[in-house]
Amino acid sequence: MADTVTLTIDGKEVTVPKGTKVIEAAKQVGVEIPHFCYHPGLPVDGNCRMCIADVHTWNARAEKHFPARRPAVTCWTDAEENMLVYTDTDAVKKSRATVMEFLLINHPIDCPICDKAGECMLQDHYMSHDRTRSELREEKIHKPRLKEFGERIVYNGERCILCSRCTRFTAHVSKTHDLGIVNRGDRAIVELAQDSSFDNAYTDNVADICPVGALTKTDFRFKKRVWFLKHTDSVCGGCSRNCNTVIDHDRAEIVRIMPRRRDEVNGHFMCNEGRDIYKKLAAAPRASAPIGRVDELGSGPSWEDALAWAGGKLGEQKKAGKLAIIGSPWMSNEEALVLGHLGAKVTKSAWMDLKDDVVDGYPADDILHTDDHNPNRKGAIDAGVVPGKKDGKDLAGIIETIAAGEVEVLLVWGPGLVNHFDSADALGEALGKVPVVIQATAELDEVSELAHLVLPVRNWAESDGTWTNFEGHTSRFRKALRPHGSARDGFELLSELCTAAGGKPPVKTFKDARKKLKQDPDADVREVADGEFSFFKGQSLYRHHSGTTEV
């Protein structure tokens, strides 16, 4: 009891842990207090003054409420027992309009050329809390408009409202201390530290958290108007952290990737590698239809024929017991469930393990990035692709077995097997000893040149699924893009292979798979976007990121 406080906000009672700020307590009863400089992932600064509300504290000795000495900023004020907060009074509304006016007098009217338009907190709050004409009759103050902060970020001093979110970010999150505010008063601007080239792994977050278009990303500048973007929840595959993301896409093309809030996984941020990953995805070589290299199939077999053939070869191994399955740490949990079932039950035990699809990438750091450049190792193992299940043979053992000519059928999922060989030639030599090599993959690689059958699969941006990160948190990604050619959904493909191999898939539907995996229902949670502002109260014309990115 002593650890919580109960207060009343706009007539609604709410109980929160001690130390909670009023602005967060308000969220819990659905009261959105507008703000700029406050961000739940950064230390509080309280400089924008937008979150001012009418706060009355209870004085136990006098047995009555006293108003705050000066208008209180709710981002800084701790919720206290018996506190009364009013956010909807005329005085508070006037206060917000006043702050908006001060912010806008020197703000350039750049909306027509500013990337942030459509997801700009200044625009949103103006529409919700101000809407008055400018009274300024002076010339606006001029500041540098095109300062490069490294190669990825551009700063516009005139648009900047000096909320200090970016400087707090580099001080407390990336801990690189690249940015600082210099000059006093209305000459203040953000500057890059002299000895910094702003090339750390987390630079792009400052453009996300910037409430206005002062910080923009060179990767996105002038690329697309945000109201054309569709937003699909996704997960980053760059490492085993599995930062929750949002894929912003338009007309079957990914335009950018932004972080999505998930407190127990990535907090509010992501690294630059994950943001750039869509370029890798677009550059990956794909197949639109199955590729065959045996006479029975021909070079371009139909899906029916391909599946029947593959199923047959797999089914034979039930008796022969010389099947090796090399899964991928990029498989979804649902795909891994079926693959594991295929290896363990349908074909009655195959040698199984995962490979390292990706071995290069950003180094591990103590912020987000881990040392595994693949997203779902833990999840795939937990779902059933258990290394060494048969004969204790893990990947190294499987490769030895291949070299010894003991493997009759090899099923490979995804690219990157060459990472476990000295060279592509060595890989080719080894595979030459395997009579049947089947690869199911979204991205073609060296194995695809040699496999007897290549089954094109949808990549993670084209699929629904979940990954589990190295700490055991599961996250859901959803289908953003149309499938490439006739690429099949991995989960469905594997289920059909089970049937074609003479067995039964472990579950009937995708939903059943998730039930069977006993996943934490939080995997699906889309944390409510803080401040998902609406152009007109209650109705979003455009869905913004100003909420998402802040969250």
Binding site: N47, C48, I52, F102, I105, N106, R137, E138, R184, D186
Partner: protein, 458 residues
């Protein structure tokens, strides 16, 4: 030991002005450090809490401008402090029109140091910082030298007079920012950061320098503690009024015969200060207006000025504030719009830029006043100026925005006709109207747009 009072009952300027009053030898002739000895070793006060009570009873109010009761501020220290208590002396005297602390520091530094020792003893602190504005080079030099003298003679340091009490004083210089006179701006600057004020609460008494409980007091307040500790609360109360006890320094500037720093009892009529101490207005210049306590307090016209007594109550009754004691006398022939413009230029320059209303507002109102003064006013500008100043108030982290807003509003309230004259005339009605022999008119016409000095320099 009776405290020698020279001339007219002086607590702070208790020496002959114009003599070499700052060295330790001179101070010792004024019973220097005897109070410290008595308090530290002679049991003059049974406990430090008793000295705090004495200061409370004396009615001493903070002399930096806010006038907060000093003893009460001291009592806000937590009973169980989370860390060593710090005393910080605010010698960042930057309020326009105020130059009284420098007199203490330059001419009577040891009284301040003794006050530091006594105050530290009272609040159970062993560490004191004296933060002096960087521009006050002579004061920094004198204070530094005085502190060295005090250490050498054993009035500062470990186990002073064998009492077991340790007090260390560090003189620290600022670097030219008015905002470092705000107590939390000062603390931030002392910590080596940008002098940007903190949001209160928590107050410095709870979380101050380096996070330790801290008391920030003005130079004059601490120097007065020396007297109060020596002579007692009643002695201090022999001067002043019920709510404004003791004496105060006033630094008078403007077209008077004898501008300077004077110590008078609280409640002393301004009229007397003007006519007796300052010798009256310069010949040929009539009193027009008065800013009684530094530029941040509202201005009053001559009629009101002559009714004011120099204490907190009287000033409040007359729609102004006693403030820091920077008495700016304004004579006839001064353009009030130009005067306001000069003041707003100061606030615009000094705003730290942290929070929105002050950062944008100070620049905006300065530019509007510049336009009005230059004769480029548009209809509604005066009301606009008032409205903006009003909007800046109270919504900021510190009171610099209020300090810019109050003079703006009061100048318009009291001298609106001058603003309107500028608008109608399309220019300043006071141009070329100063009697030449007074050489009062400033040089050059004001600039219409943002001063190049304020423009961003890459």
């Amino acid at each position: 030991m009776t405290y020698p009072i020279k001339g007219k009952d002086q607590v702070l300027l208790n020496f002959e002005r114009g003599t070499t009053s700052w060295p330790l030898d001179s101070y010792l002739t004024r019973a220097g450090y005897e109070t410290a000895k008595e308090v530290l070793t002679g049991g003059k006060y049974a406990t430090p809490a008793d000295l705090v009570t004495t200061v409370k009873d004396s009615g001493l109010r903070g002399r930096g401008g806010a006038g907060f009761p000093t003893g009460l501020k001291w009592s806000f220290l937590p009973k169980e402090p989370q860390g060593p208590i710090q005393l910080v002396v605010n010698a960042d005297e930057s309020e326009p029109g105020t130059f009284k602390d420098r007199v203490i520091m330059e001419e009577n530094p040891h009284q301040l140091i003794e006050g530091c020792v006594l105050s530290c003893w009272a609040i159970k602190s062993n560490s004191c910082y004296i933060y002096i504005r960087g521009e006050y080079v002579p004061a920094i030099k004198r204070m530094t030298a005085a502190v060295e003298e005090a250490y050498a003679a054993g009035h500062l340091g470990e186990d002073i007079y064998g009492s077991g009490f340790t007090c260390h004083v560090t003189v620290h210089s600022g670097a030219g920012a008015y905002i470092c006179g705000e107590e939390t701006g000062l603390i931030e600057s002392l910590e080596g950061k940008k002098g940007q004020p903190r949001i209160k609460p928590p107050f410095p008494a709870v979380y101050g320098v380096f996070g330790y409980p801290t008391i920030v007091n003005n130079v004059e307040s601490i120097a007065a503690v020396t007297y109060i500790a020596a002579a007692g609360a009643d002695a201090y109360r022999q001067w002043g009024t019920e709510k404004s006890a003791g004496t105060k320094l006033f630094s008078v500037s403007g077209p008077v015969k004898r501008p300077g720093v004077y110590e008078v009892a609280m409640g002393y009529p301004f009229k007397s200060l003007l006519e007796n101490e300052c010798g009256g207005m310069l010949d040929g210049v009539a009193l027009k207006a008065l800013i009684v306590g530094g530029s941040s307090v509202p201005v009053v016209n001559a009629e009101t000025a002559l009714k004011i007594n120099m204490d907190y109550e009287s000033c409040a009754e007359n729609d102004t504030l006693l403030g820091s004691g920077g008495v700016i006398v304004i004579g006839e022939g001064t353009c009030m719009v130009r005067a306001l413009m000069t003041l707003l230029r100061f606030y615009h320059h000094e705003s730290c830029g942290q929070c929105t209303p002050c950062r944008e507002g100070t620049g905006w109102i300065e530019r509007i006043v510049q336009r009005i003064e230059a004769g480029d006013a548009k209809p509604g500008d005066i009301d606009e100026l008032y409205r903006i100043a009003d909007n800046m108030e109270l919504r900021t982290i510190c009171t610099l925005a209020d300090a810019a807003a109050w003079p703006t509003k009061s100048f318009i309230d009291v001298f609106r006709d001058e603003f309107e004259a500028h608008v109608e005339r399309g220019g300043c009605p006071y141009d070329n109207q100063f009697p030449d022999h007074l050489n009062l008119r400033g040089g050059g016409k004001p600039q219409r747009h943002a001063d190049p000095e304020h423009a961003f320099i890459p």
